[in-house]
Structures are given as structure tokens and as C-alpha cells.
């Protein structure tokens, strides 16, 4: 590996908590100029939080933060930008109403005579940036409606064009195809060779090993280790990430698989997914695997009815589920734990009781009237069953940790006694302990004859939990793999190259 320069970025035992949620216990990271540093860890390990602290978006509660040896304290993202730090955030943040070019140069547009923006120069620069990244986007196009991938590319271009001394990329490749990833890597390497310091966050080990010089592992908001890539293996890294052997993470109890509960045929939605057909049987856990942006959530959402679809049919327990009508789906016995807990799963500003009773409250009503007391009576036992950690049912869901919030969402749906439970990213951003609890719960439910449709971006989770793996690639199901022959390789190939057959 190449000889890396002086320390560019150094964090020591940085702490950050959001109310009761401790996102970061002691985050440490030391990055040298002229090197690419990998930061890995499970969902919710605290990577993004660390990034946001470096970016000046969050202020750390404690710990050291040195930039080029000097202790710094950024009050805003503008401050970190000025200090030469460029960040690609996990979620693309663009201005939909503005052109791609304006998104790139907002606030630092090239100025011509009389401090007036020089659009020609701006567009030219944008074009050259895109050339360097090897994409051809129309610089004049509005950002609105760009695919996740293209949004991500613009974020990358934005960060590169800042020509910063420290470049941080939080899962930039999550939505990118192989070609794009290769180009990105080429650019990253050239930046490294110019002597810049890069931080690269990804859940894909092959990328980490292909690109990075050093790797730092985080778990539960804590620093675990830093090693040169050359001297470690993915097995070691995984072990450090989860703190135990992968196998015992997923206590899947074998369940007797019964009759089909959900039958989806030829589901189609222009621009999102195409000709999707599959079925889920009682007691069966079916996983939808694939890259972020593949369209898995959209499929699930369409099945449940919160999203529309153009054609195709969804049948639950023998009856056809009307399109675009979640109420009907719920009545027929469907439950849906969405991927974005804070936005879709919960009303975070309402009480635990309110959330747990949210779907069944219709049934709680006497003479059409319901009381807070009735909600509490119904909510208590379910919260207890899932061991939700809160001191009172009137507490705001917002005050709970990600894991507990997830439990509340699951409790909410279990309360409806569903035949089929769809769970999108069941363990995204929840700590290791809760994680295995959730897994145990899922397989327990399957064991009791519930049909489970699970979406997950985490391969170990998919392989550990699923009886069957359906791989989604660009909105098409490209493979239907049985538990027996589901391997990381088989799933990944199907997920990446569309060539694979269903």
C-alpha cells in the first residue's frame, strides 16, 4: 500500500446522543492525507452520526476533534466547508426546483463582471465534472425526479468540485451500478494521489477491500479497531462489527410451511418495478434482497396498497386485495412495517399508546367513541410482550431509541393479528441486542404460522432468516433462491447483473 502522509483528520472518543438515544458513545477515527480510510459498522453503529459531526451539522457532546492537528469546533456545515471538508451524505439532499448545475455550485457560483453569476462558465465546469465522472447528465436539467443513483452522482460531483483536503463519502455507492462504482473509484484514487484524505463508508466489503488503505470498525457507537486493509480479512471485520459469530445472530427456528397466503402476479409500475410475481406461504419467511434503489420497498408498498400500481393482482388468503387501499389490505390481514421508521412507521410525536393502538383503535371504540384509557388498556400488553423500554405509555415515541421505536411499530401490527406481515429493513439502525430480539421474534411469528415478507439490505440477515430469497434488480425479480442454495455470491450476482435468470 502507498505511503500515506500526515494526519489530516483525527477524532478521539467523540460522544453524541439525541435525547435518550445514544448515537455515538466513543467514536474515534484517524485519517492520513493521501489515503482512503474505510469506516464500517452495522446499521446504526454511528457512522453517519460521526460524519455529521465532522461536517458541523451536529455538535459533539464530548471528545476531541482535530483537523490538520488543530482542534476545531464547527458551528455549521458552512464552517466545515470553509475548512476544506467535503461531505457526501447518506441521503442525497438536492434542491428539486433548481437545475443540476445550480445544485452543484449553489452559494459558490463562478462570478463574472459586476458579481453577476457566469452561467456559461458554470455549465462548462459542470460538464467537465460529469466528463471526469464519466456520466452524461444534462447540466441544465432540473434535479427533480432524478433517480437515487443520479442524485448520488450529483452529490459526488458536488463534493469533488469543492476540491477539499478531506473528502467523506457516506455510502456513496449504495445505489450505484458497477460501472459507476468503478469510475467513482478511479476518481477517488486520483484524489488520494493528489494527497487528499478520503473517508469511505460502505456495507459492501468487496468495495472496501478494492479501494481502501485502512479500515476502522465501529459497533454500537463505539470505536472497535483500525487496521491496514492488507492485514485483515472480511471475516475478521464482520466478527468485529457484530461482536460475535454471525451464525448465532439469527436464531431461526424451523417452521412448518403451509398453504400460500399472499399471491402477487405480474405487478407492474412504470419507472419503478416490472412484471413482479411471487407468493408467500404461511409459516414462510421470504426475503426480498437487492441493492438499495432496486425497488424492493416500492414493490412491498404497492402490495400493501400505499403506493399505486399500473397492472397486476395481489391476492391475500384467497381474496383479491384492492389496489391503493391500505385499509382493505389491513382488513384482509396484512401488516406492514415500513423501512423509514421515523417517517412512515410511527407518529413519533404521539404517545406509545397512541402508536400501538393506531391501527386497531377502530375496534376499541364503544358506540364509536374511544378514550385514552381504552388505548392504554390495549397498548400495555403488546408493549410488554415486546419489552418496549419506556417508563410510561404516554411517553413520546420520539424520545425512544431506534430499536424501541421499531418494537412499537411491530407491536402496532401484531395487535392487528395479521396473516401476512411485511417487514422492510427490520433492523435498520437498531442495536445488536435488539436486532437479534427482532430476528427471534420474526422467526417465532413464522413458527406460529404467520407469513413473513422481509426486505433487507443486509446479506447476513437475508441468508440467516429467509426460507426463500427473491432477488430484485432494477425493479425486476431476477432470482428465486431456496434457503439451501442461498449464498452471498448467488444473491450478489443476481442483485448486480440483470442477466441472471429468475
Amino acid at each position: 500500500m502507498n505511503t500515506s502522509g500526515p494526519v489530516a483528520l483525527q477524532l478521539e472518543q467523540v460522544r453524541k446522543s439525541f435525547g435518550p438515544v445514544v448515537a455515538l458513545r466513543s467514536g474515534s477515527l484517524t485519517v492520513h492525507s493521501g489515503s482512503i480510510h474505510a469506516l464500517v459498522g452495522e446499521n446504526g453503529a454511528g457512522k453517519s452520526t460521526l460524519v455529521k459531526i465532522i461536517a458541523g451539522l451536529y455538535q459533539r457532546d464530548g471528545g476531541e476533534f482535530l483537523l490538520h492537528g488543530k482542534s476545531v469546533d464547527f458551528s455549521s456545515t458552512a464552517a466545515s466547508k470553509d475548512a476544506g471538508i467535503a461531505v457526501i451524505y447518506q441521503e442525497p439532499t438536492l434542491f428539486p426546483d433548481l437545475s443540476v448545475t445550480e445544485n452543484l455550485f449553489m452559494g459558490r457560483q463562478p462570478l463574472g463582471a459586476g458579481r453577476r453569476i457566469d452561467r456559461k462558465a458554470m455549465h462548462a465546469e459542470a460538464r467537465s465534472l460529469f466528463k471526469r465522472l464519466g456520466v452524461n447528465l444534462d447540466p441544465r436539467r432540473l434535479a427533480e425526479g432524478l433517480s437515487i443513483a443520479d442524485q448520488q452522482i450529483i452529490e459526488i460531483a458536488k463534493a469533488i468540485s469543492l476540491d477539499a483536503s478531506v473528502l467523506i463519502m457516506d455510502e456513496p455507492t449504495a445505489a450505484l451500478s458497477g460501472v459507476e462504482v468503478d469510475r467513482l473509484f478511479a476518481v477517488a484514487r486520483s484524489l488520494r494521489d493528489e494527497g487528499r484524505a478520503l473517508v469511505f463508508i460502505s456495507h459492501r466489503f468487496e468495495e472496501v477491500f478494492a479501494l481502501c488503505d485502512m479500515v476502522t470498525v465501529m459497533r454500537d457507537g463505539e470505536y472497535i479497531s483500525t487496521d491496514p486493509i492488507a492485514e485483515t480479512t472480511s471475516a475478521q471485520i464482520v466478527a468485529k462489527m457484530v461482536g460475535r459469530e454471525v451464525s448465532d445472530l439469527f436464531p431461526k427456528t424451523p417452521a412448518s410451511i403451509g398453504a400460500p397466503v399472499l399471491q402477487v402476479s405480474n405487478l407492474e409500475r412504470a419507472g419503478v418495478f416490472h412484471d413482479v410475481s411471487f407468493e408467500v406461504r404461511s409459516g414462510e419467511i421470504v426475503a426480498l434482497a437487492g441493492l438499495v434503489g432496486a425497488g424492493r420497498s416500492e414493490i412491498a408498498r404497492a402490495v400493501f396498497g400505499v403506493d399505486p400500481y399500473d397492472s397486476g393482482t395481489v391476492v391475500l388468503g384467497g381474496t383479491k386485495v384492492p389496489a391503493r387501499n391500505p385499509r382493505a389490505a389491513i382488513r384482509l390481514g396484512m401488516g406492514f412495517v415500513p423501512e423509514d421508521r421515523r417517517q412512515q412507521g410511527l407518529v413519533v410525536d404521539a404517545s406509545v399508546a397512541h402508536n400501538v393502538a393506531a391501527v386497531i383503535r377502530g375496534k376499541l371504540a364503544k358506540l364509536g367513541l374511544i378514550t385514552r384509557a381504552a388505548e392504554n388498556r390495549a397498548a400495555g400488553p403488546w408493549s410488554g410482550r415486546l419489552e418496549v423500554k419506556t417508563n410510561a405509555l404516554s411517553m413520546n415515541a420520539a424520545t425512544m431509541s431506534g430499536g424501541n421505536q421499531q418494537k412499537v411499530v411491530i407491536a402496532k401490527w401484531l395487535a392487528t393479528d395479521p396473516k401476512l406481515l411485511i417487514i422492510d429493513e427490520p433492523t435498520r439502525g437498531i442495536d445488536v441486542g435488539t436486532k437479534s430480539e427482532v430476528h427471534r421474534l420474526i422467526s417465532e411469528l413464522a413458527g406460529q404460522g404467520m407469513a413473513i415478507l422481509m426486505i433487507s439490505s443486509e446479506l447476513p440477515e437475508v441468508l440467516g432468516m429467509a426460507d426463500r430469497v427473491l432477488v430484485v434488480n432494477e425493479g425486476r425479480i431476477t432470482a428465486d433462491i431456496d434457503r439451501a442454495d442461498a449464498t452471498p455470491e448467488s444473491v450478489m450476482t443476481a442483485a448486480t447483473n440483470a442477466g441472471a435468470s429468475a
Binding site: 458541523g56 451539522l57 455549521s76 456545515t77 458552512a78 464552517a79 466545515s80 466547508k81 451524505y89 439532499t93 438536492l94 434542491f95 428539486p96 426546483d97 433548481l98 445550480e102 449553489m106 452559494g107 459558490r108 457560483q109 462570478l111 458579481r115 453577476r116 453569476i117 460538464r127 464519466g134 456520466v135 452524461n136 447528465l137 444534462d138 447540466p139 441544465r140 436539467r141 427533480e144 425526479g145 432524478l146 433517480s147 437515487i148 443513483a149 443520479d150 445505489a175 450505484l176 451500478s177 460501472v179 459507476e180 412504470a270 419507472g271 419503478v272 434503489g293 432494477e474
Partner: protein, 343 residues
């Protein structure tokens, strides 16, 4: 995902200019305006071809135009300012009082004071909105009452009469320069300046960015608070200027001047294609929208519609405008999806 969804446009800048000109919302509204004028003129040709009515055609909209421009800037940042009507009343009455209390005060100074006071009132709105993190609708609803109350209390039942103000100042309201009324020239000059600022300066573009996605703007490191406050100051200043011109044009200022004009200003902006949720639209559109509102008001009686139906027509225009926007947006996103599938 495929590595590209949209090919760069091969259009020359000239082509692009023409196509935007043809497809832009501004020109659509302008077309409607022309049609209205034509319709009225065919009914009675004096609507256009008599020096007075030509003057009124240009003069009548100029005050609302100023308010609409200011309003547009605020709306672009995903806010709204309902207090402009009260601000106008305050500065209009202030103008009168200045002349009454200090005879011989230079007109230019009166303009400066009027604009400054307007800006100050705007600043109050801006600070409350930006620092208090309270939605503009509520704050400016409150200041609408407060500012109006202040002027009502201050003016009481005495009003400024034409005779209280120097004829030199009053004639501003009616004098023309090369058949273009002075008021109109002032309004258009302001329009051009603001339009230029929004289009070609960093500050201007940041206003659009903030309106387009405030969270992203914050994440990006833009100084959201300062910009938003600035937008309110500009809006207030223009309302102040409008107040001074109001005094010049109508010669008489009572405490109820400009009551309810704030909704007209918002309406003009919306008709002109300024999205109520910020991020898009232009002051040009807002200006034409204002012009259209006023001209329709004047044209209806001539076309033979009793002029008190005017408000209903305005309502239809506003709703038509936003529905139209929605349809266009839907069509655009459908196109984009097709583009994605095609690739």
C-alpha cells in the same frame, strides 16, 4: 441502475431561449393579458386609444405590481407576507403626515423615509419568522392586525387630503414621461432590479434554494435565517414604496388604505406562476399577474360584465393557475419516468 437517465440537451442557447419563451408561464399569462385588452378594446376602442385610458392601463397596476413583486420574493422562500396591506397604509399615511408636518420637505427624502419604514416593518416580520421559527402565515397575520391597528389609531378619523401635499409630489401620480406614467416607470425599474437580483446573483439563487428545500439548504450550509429575513425586508421596503406612491396617486389617504390588498398580491404572484410552496416562479410572472388582475378589473364593465363580478373572475384565475401548474407537473414527472424506463 443505468449510468444515465437524460442526455445533455444539444439545443443552442438561442433555441433554448425561444422554447422557454414559448413554454414559460410568464408568456402564457402575458397572452391572457393581451387578449383581455384586445377584447375590451374591440368593445370600446377608447380602452386603449385615448391618452387617459392608455395612461390608466399602465398606471393602475403599478402599485399592486410593487406589492406582488415583494410578495413573490417572500413566497419563493416558502413563506408569505400578509402584512403588506397594512404596511402600505402606514407608509401612505406617514407620507401625508411628513408633508403636513414639515412643509417643504424634499420629495426624495419622503420616498427614502417611506421605504425605510416599510423595510423596518418587514424586518420585524423577518426576524419573528426566522428566529422564532414560527410560520410566516401566523406572524404576518398578527402583524397585519398590529400595523393596521397602529395606522388606524395614529390617523384616527383625520385623513390626508390632496391639498395637504405639494402638487409636485401629487403630479408624480399622474405625470407621464414619453406617454409612460412616472409611477409605472418606477414600478418597472424596481421589477427589473429585483428580477435581475433573483436571476443573476448568488443571494437571489439562494432564495430559490431555500424555498425549494429548507432542510437541504441548512444541510448545505446556506444562511437560511439571514436570507429569509432579507426577503421580508425587501418585501416590506417595496410595500413602503408602494405606500408613498399610493399617496401620490390617490392624493387622499385614509387609515383604511389598501385593506385586503395583501390577498390580491398573493393572488397575483400565484397567477403569475410563483409556487405557493416556494422554490419556483419569477417576479416577472408575479408582475404580469398583478397587471392582469387590475386590467381585468377595468375591462369587465366595458366587456359588459358588471364590475362586481371581477372578484369572482380573479378567484377563477387563481384556481385555474394552480390547477394548471399541477397538470404540467404531473405531465413532467410522467415524461421523466418514461425516460427512466426507456434507458
Amino acid at each position: 441502475m443505468t449510468d444515465t437517465l437524460v442526455a445533455p440537451s444539444r439545443k443552442s442557447s438561442a433555441q433554448r431561449f425561444v422554447s422557454t419563451l414559448l413554454t414559460s408561464r410568464e408568456s402564457a399569462i402575458a397572452l391572457v393579458l393581451v387578449l383581455v385588452v384586445l377584447a375590451a378594446t374591440t368593445q370600446r376602442k377608447t380602452f386603449l386609444f385615448s391618452s387617459d385610458s392608455w395612461r390608466d392601463l399602465l398606471l393602475a397596476p403599478s402599485i399592486l405590481l410593487l406589492l406582488a413583486v415583494g410578495q413573490a420574493v417572500v413566497i419563493i422562500t416558502r413563506n408569505v407576507d400578509l402584512s403588506v396591506g397594512s404596511t402600505l397604509a402606514l407608509t401612505a399615511y406617514l407620507t401625508g403626515r411628513l408633508f403636513v408636518d414639515n412643509p417643504g420637505i424634499p420629495v426624495i427624502l419622503v420616498f427614502a423615509i417611506g421605504i425605510a419604514v416599510g423595510a423596518l416593518l418587514g424586518l420585524i416580520n423577518g426576524l419573528l419568522v426566522a428566529l422564532g421559527k414560527v410560520p410566516a402565515l401566523v406572524i404576518t397575520l398578527g402583524t397585519l392586525y398590529i400595523y393596521r391597528g397602529v395606522v388606524l389609531e395614529w390617523a384616527g378619523s383625520n385623513r390626508i387630503n390632496a391639498s395637504d401635499m405639494p402638487s409636485g409630489f401629487l403630479s408624480l401620480g399622474t405625470r407621464s414621461f414619453l406617454t409612460i406614467p412616472v409611477l409605472t416607470i418606477i414600478a418597472v425599474a424596481v421589477l427589473v432590479a429585483v428580477g435581475y437580483y433573483l436571476r443573476t446573483t448568488r443571494g437571489g439563487r439562494e432564495l430559490y434554494a431555500i424555498g425549494s428545500d429548507p432542510d437541504a439548504a441548512h444541510l448545505y450550509g446556506l444562511n437560511v435565517r439571514r436570507r429569509v429575513a432579507g426577503a421580508f425586508v425587501l418585501c416590506g421596503a417595496l410595500a413602503g414604496l408602494a405606500g408613498v406612491l399610493f399617496a401620490a396617486r390617490y392624493g387622499t389617504v385614509a387609515s383604511n388604505a389598501g385593506t385586503g390588498i395583501e390577498l390580491q398580491a398573493v393572488g397575483a404572484a400565484v397567477i403569475g406562476g410563483v409556487a405557493i410552496f416556494g422554490g419556483s416562479g419569477s417576479v416577472w410572472g408575479a408582475a404580469i399577474g398583478a397587471w392582469l388582475l387590475i386590467t381585468i378589473n377595468r375591462a369587465l364593465p366595458i366587456i359588459g360584465v358588471q364590475d362586481f363580478w371581477q372578484q369572482a373572475v380573479v378567484g377563477v384565475l387563481i384556481i385555474g393557475a394552480i390547477v394548471l401548474d399541477r397538470l404540467l407537473a404531473v405531465r413532467r414527472s410522467r415524461k421523466l419516468i418514461e425516460a427512466r424506463d426507456a434507458s
